[in-house]
Every structure is written in C-alpha cells, then in structure tokens.
Symmetry: C2
Subunit: 486 residues, 2 copies
C-alpha cells in the first residue's frame, strides 16, 4: 500500500524556495481564517521512526504564527494519565476553537507500538482503531478540522536516517526510535502501519500519506496538504449532516410510582445502615482501583442537592469529588461540549459525582434552544460513546433521574420561598422552566430511551417523598458497586 | 500552648441546635456575601489525627451551599505533583473569586508529618513555615480570606477516637491516622504542631485553635470562627496596605550598547554551533531532572518571536513548551494573577518558555493602569518570591529583555506593514504603546532594578541587530545551563 508513495521526487533548494515562500504566506492566511471561523485545527504527524516527524513539526511552527499553536508530544506517561481512560490525556490537550494543536505522537502512537511489540492482540488493536474513529468523528462533528499526515520512508532511508543520527541519539535518550531496537523491525512496523491507516481511514478524517524520503519535498507537500484541507473544510463548513431520525420515546416517567414513601424512624435506620455500607464499598472500590462516576439529574426542586449530601457524607472526603455543573467558562465554551466533563474525571479508585451533567445538552440546552437540533440529536450517540469509554476503562457508571409530580414541585417552590435559608435556591428561571414542563417531559423521556444502556443504565427515582428517594439512591449505588466489585 | 484550649465544654443536643440553626443561616448569608464581593475563601482544617477533621468538613459542606465549595484532600501524591515545586499542587486547587476551598490536608500536612518522622531537619522545617507564610500572604494580599482552624484533642481522647474506629479503619485503609503507627507519638506530634502553629501564626492569616474534644462544641465553634472571620474581613475589605516605597531605579537600559552586530556568515556558523550545544544541554537537563524556565520580554518589534524560534528549533519538541501569554481567560481572571503562570509550569527535566510573562504586571498592566499602584508595587516582591520558589525547587531560571532603540522600532513597524505575511504582527495598539515609550522605559528600569536577583538574573539583550541578539540569547542560555548542570 505504501510503496506506491515512494515517488522519490527530491526538490532542489531553488524549487523548494519557489514553492515554500507563497505556501508560507497562504498558510498564515489559512491560520487567520481558522481564528476567525472558530474551528479548532488538529494536525496529527505520524509515521515510522526516522521519517523526520520532529523536523517537520519544527518547520510548521516556523511557517505559521506560533501564537495559537501548541505542539503536543506523548512519550513519558504520568500516573495521572494511566489512572484515567486512554483518551483523557488527549481530550485535555485539544486546541480551543480558532487555534491549532499539532500532535507529534498521538492517540495512534500507543496502539501501533503495542501491536508491533505484540502486546496488543488483533482484536484489541481493531477495537482501538474503532475508538479512535469515534473520537475523531466526535471532534470533527463539532467543527474540528483534523488533518492526519503519515510520513512514509523506505527501509534503507530509515536505516540511513537512524544511523546518521545514532551517535547523537546515544547521547540524547530517545524513546521510540532507538536504531538498534528498530533494526529488522521495519517490515513488521510497516505492516502494522498499513493496518492502522486502513483501520482509521475515514471519509471525515482521511489520512494523507506523504513520501518523506526527501526533506524539502516532505515539508512542501505537508504544507500543501494542510493548506488544501483547511480551505476545503472552510468552504464546506456550513453543510450539516442531516439529523438522524429518532424512534418515538417510550414514556418512562409515566411508569414511575410516585406514591412510594418512608417514615422518618425507618428512614433513619436505613440511612445509617446503607451509608456505612456505602462507605465500605467506596474503600473497596479504592482498593480495587475502580472509579465510580455518578450522574444526578432531576426536575428543579426534586431534591438532588439533599440526596447528594446524604451520599457524600457517607464517603471519605479523600475518595470523592462533587462537580457542580453550571454555566460553562469561556475556556470550556471554546471546546467540544464533552470537554468540560472529561477534564473533571477523577483518578482510578475515586468517585466523581456530577450534580447535573452532560445530559444538560439533551434537556435544558435542547428545550431552551441553546443547542441546535443537529447538536442535541448527535449528543445522544456522543453521550453513549462517552459512557462506554468510561465503562470499558473499568469505571462504574450510575445515573439517577429524580422524578416528582408537577404539584409536588409547586409545593416545594412555595415552601422554599417561605424559608429564608432556602430562598436562594429558587429563582425566576425555576418558575419559567416550570411553564415548559411538557417540553422537558418529552425531552427527558427521549433522553432515557436513547441513553439507557446495559452498562450505564438510568435509575428513575420516585422523588415525591424525599426520604424514600434518598434511601433508594444510596441502596442503588451500593447494589451497583457490589455487582461490579464482587 | 494547646493545653489551655482543653476547655472541655460539651454541648447538649438542644444547646447545639439552639446555636447551630441561626449559625447555619448566617453562614449561608456570609457565603453569598463572598460571592458578591468576589473574595476567594480558603478554609484550612488541620489538627492531630482523631480530632474529627473529616467529620467537621462533612458538616461544613452540609451547612453551606455546596455550589461553590470544593473540598481538597492531599494524601496520595502523583508524579505530576512530585515533578513540580511543592506549592504547585495547592496553587492549582485554589478556589476562584467568590468561591470556597476547604483544605483537609494542606500545605501544612507534609512539613508537619515529615518533621514528626524526623525526615525534615529543624532548618528545613523553619524554611517550610517561611514559604507557607509567603504563600498565604500573597493570596491574602490579593483578597483571599484565609481561615486556619486547628482542632486540638487531648492524648486520651485521641487514643479513644482512634481505637473506637480502629476496626473500621483496618477495613478502610487510611493514610495518616493508623492508630498503631500513632501510638506513643502524641507528645512528639503535639510539640511539632505547636512549632508549626507558632511558625505560621501571622496577623494577616492567624490560626484559630479549637477545643475538639466534643463533636457538637467543635462544630459550632468552628462555624462561629468562620462566620466571624468572614464578616470581619468583609468589613475591612477596602483598607489597603500602603504601597512600599521603591528605591530610584538605575537606568539599566541606558547602559546597553545597541551597536553590537554580527554578519550573516558568522551568524550561521555560530547558530549551528550553539544550537547543537543547546540541544545536548536540554537533554542533559532532562537526564538530571532539572527544569528550565525562560522568560522573554522586550519592546514591541524587538524580535522576541524570531529569537524564540531559534531557541525552540534547537530543543527536542518533547522537552519544551512555548507559552504565549495574551489576555487572561475568565478562569484566570478569577484567580491571583500568578495562578495562570503556575498552572503552565512543565515537569522536572522540561523547558518552559514564556513569550511575555508575569512581568506584564509591572510593565503593560502598570503603564496602562490595568493594575492598581498597590497591586503592581506588591508584584515586585511576589515575582521575586515566585522565582525563588522555582530556583529552590531546582528549576533553572533565565530572563531576557530584548532592548532596541526607538528609531529601530519605528523602522521595523514600517517594514512589517510593508510585508504582507508580517502585516498581522503590527496593530494599532503597537503604535499607541509606542507613544508611551518614556513611561515604559521607566517601568522597565524599575522592573530590572527590583527583580534582578542572583539566582534569577536579567539578561538585557542588545536587539538592534537581530542576528546578534539571537546568538547572544542562545549562548547565554547555554552558559546558564552549563553553570547549573556541571
């Protein structure tokens, strides 16, 4: 597959300068075009050792305006990274809108290396390619321009390159491309590369294979590919994928029996019992290095806050973080909407509690028109993909929706306004949202229908009686943990 | 010292409720007051094992509005933390303005424990206290309300507490407070605690020692102390420290010989030579786990960008990050102005290049009136303290100011406007700043006079000839690294 690209077309210094000068100029213009149109640009520079990836990256930094470019390299892992889903380290380095992220070493490096060394089975490798395709599709759907460059060199060029620099490399410890390690591995590496490129060759995020034998040709070619891809994407920026048609939502909320209740003495007994059970399970999860992600959603006034407090007061403060999701910061607005949740994930063995979550996209953002139909329709799939990233890493996921009746909500709003130390909890907005009850009901039913998955199921909690709801939540959490840990 | 606090005044359930209910109400009001007045609130909960710190933290979370409270615990270190100056992990967890950070385990935990175990000498311990005082003073000067609670328990209460919970603790691995480890260490721990409290007892950030024998008393007392401290601080929020008088600034810029220059052939030869030298030194620094922080400042048009490019193209992309400092994001504006630089520090062995830096505070922010006189005067001391935090961690610091003449600047502005692919670099603002040359000159001279320290000296680079300036910078970097590494 790659051989055809060994065109071997070296450029003379003058040829190079003739093409490089205007190219440089137009690359700068393209860069400013990106800043204006607010697309993030992701450039992946991949290829075999000795293909001159590093040199090319230096050149790109030189040709474009370093303001707004960040080059990311992944070689030494940190335990912060090891302790989270594979994609976390990449999510955290994504360029904000209007800026450029160059990835020298990327989500491709680890699967490829592990497969070459035989540490990754054929199935696992195929799975990695699938997850990469999902990751790139999510970013691209969100407007990211993803340009994937594969620098190809022949075996003897690689040998020459590595050996020329061998002395310096001996002095400068490099990770991947130690010439002695690599000797004789070319064919195997090439075969894996072909698999990798084939497995992640998508219409949306295609690979560009570049003949890297000659430095000058390589650099000009890469620059032209980048320029061309940016311009093509900026032209078609407006075309939107048609929104996928969604099946009718079953009316999950209607099936909830809101009469469930609990008297205070029984509540106190059960609370003590299940809280201490939860405390031990949280420590057991810590011992097993399993993390727990819990999502709390519900109507305004459903009692999310007080229920969460009963959960947190059972867990050692060392083991959990409570994340309150409110309006995004401008750093968050400049990223894919899932970014702000990725960045908050705690390490293995810890619990992350989300008071409101990524589901805002398909509830409030949908109903209030803060997300376009294309965006919130796409979100169902993105959310399922996010949660399966978590569960496939070993994270335990529990999702609660606390449901109350419209009358109960009214009663609670009025009670809150009467109590001085609760008055702050009730705002004009709560009253406005209340008007839109039916719209929210429809959105919630569809949300549950679309995102109720075996590994990340929804638990719809009858919330008219707060005491019952709290116990129900803590017990469900305990059961979920027990099922996963024992 | 502590014994006097063993007042032993248990509260009955009713007494507790009588005091807790109104307290809770007023704590909430105080919390909203903070949100409005935009002070960050930092609550440190410290004390011996078995004093009930965790229980108190749970209670505070319950009493106040969990929105806008983050509880931080420090027990397991990550290598990301170990690889940076001691205070980095705390800077990164500081609450934004208007919000509350509760620190259960804090900058006090490690020095105290290490000193108890005899891993920290008397001198090192005193040094740690000094650095903590500086850290807290910087935050408090910036408006942070810092409340430090020390929970005191008697030896037998501690023993009872720990042994009561021993069985559960056996099941739930806890780090610091293993009852068996602690047995017999009480006196030693108490002595160290007294040293610690004395050594960090400042007027600005005083300790509040609380008799923690009785849970109810402890909680009410802590709540009252917090409430009282917040209210006192909010009243006096407006008083400003008088700006320290600064010595006349020597005219450092005038002493620069701007005629220095280099012809292109010599430039090329030297560039090749010193770049490869720099490349090796960067790898040597990596091998020795020493990090390098380089600051680039200079007049508009002084050629910072092109000089930085010559530096970066010498260093392996794996080893450096170039940080472009532009307008702060809203997450950054909600923090102490040094926060945005702390968060960008790279790991040990890496290079962090700042294109513009914390010196903006005493140049552009001062001249354009973006920082108050009190703020930029204070900044000189804060900057020196920041840099000594870095150097005392082993970081190598190099600071460059590229100086050019006013005529040279004019010539370059005009040249830039003539060149299409450079036009973007020159804006209205550049012309406006140019008007204020004398004001900037004064600020720069004072900056250099105030922040030219033995371990973090300024290098003023003659910049009229770009080629000379680039070589000068790379050579100086090499010398600095050689001095530090060999």
């Amino acid at each position: 597959m790659f051989d055809q690209f060994e065109a071997n077309t070296p450029l003379s210094k003058t040829e190079f300068e003739q093409r490089a000068l205007p190219l440089r100029q137009r690359l700068l213009e393209a860069q400013f075009g990106i800043e204006k149109t607010n697309h993030p640009l992701i450039i992946v520079v991949a290829g075999l050792a000795g293909a001159g990836k590093g040199v090319l990256v230096h050149r790109l930094n030189e040709w474009m305006d370093p303001k707004g470019i960040e080059t990311n390299t992944y070689w030494e892992h940190s335990d912060e990274e090891e302790d989270r889903p594979f994609l976390w380290r990449y999510w955290n380095k994504l360029p904000p809108r209007g800026q450029i992220g160059i990835f020298l070493g990327s989500w491709y490096t680890h699967p490829a290396q592990a497969h070459v060394d035989g540490r990754l089975s054929q199935e696992a490798f195929a799975g990695a390619c699938e997850r990469i395709n999902i990751f790139e599709r999510q970013l691209s759907d969100d407007g990211a321009i993803i340009i994937k460059l594969w620098l190809h060199v022949s075996e003897e060029t690689q040998r020459r390159q590595l050996e020329e620099h061998a002395p310096k490399r001996q002095q400068n410890p490099r990770v991947t491309d130690n010439p002695y390690e690599l000797r004789g591995k070319y064919q195997r590496a090439l075969a894996v590369s072909e698999e990798l490129v084939r497995g992640t060759q998508t219409l949306q995020c295609p690979w560009h294979i570049i003949d890297a034998e000659d430095r000058r040709f390589r650099e000009v070619k890469a620059g032209e590919v980048i320029l061309d891809s940016i311009n093509r994407r900026l032209q078609f920026a407006n075309d939107e994928e048609p929104a996928t048609l969604l099946p009718e939502a079953a009316d999950a909320l209607a099936c909830v029996n809101l009469d469930k209740c609990l008297d205070r003495s029984e509540y106190k007994r059960k609370l003590r019992k299940h809280q201490s059970r939860l405390q031990d399970l949280a420590w057991e999860a810590y011992r097993q290095r399993r993390s727990l992600v819990t999502v709390f959603e519900g109507w305004d006034g459903a009692g999310k806050g007080s229920a969460i407090r009963r959960v947190t007061s059972a867990i050692d403060p060392r083991l959990y973080k409570l994340i309150q999701i409110a309006a995004p910061s401008d750093e968050e607005l400049a990223q894919h909407y899932l970014w702000r949740f990725w960045r908050k994930l705690q390490r293995d063995g810890r619990t992350t509690l989300f008071d409101r979550s990524w589901y805002g996209r398909v509830m409030v953002e949908r109903v209030e028109g803060l997300a376009s139909e294309e965006e919130w329709t796409r979100a169902f799939r993105e959310i399922n993909e996010l949660e399966s990233e978590l569960t496939s890493h070993g994270t335990i996921v529990a999702k609660f929706f606390i449901h109350i009746s419209q009358d109960e909500q009214l009663a609670r709003f009025q009670a809150r306004e009467a109590q001085p130390h609760k008055r702050h909890k009730i705002t004009e907005e709560d009253w406005r949202n209340r008007e839109k009850w039916p719209a929210y009901e429809g959105a919630i039913n569809q949300m549950i229908a679309q995102t109720h998955t075996p590994l990340a199921p929804w638990h719809i909690v009858p919330g008219n009686d707060k005491l019952y709801a709290r116990i129900h939540i803590i017990k469900t959490l305990c059961r979920t943990l027990e099922k996963a840990l024992y």
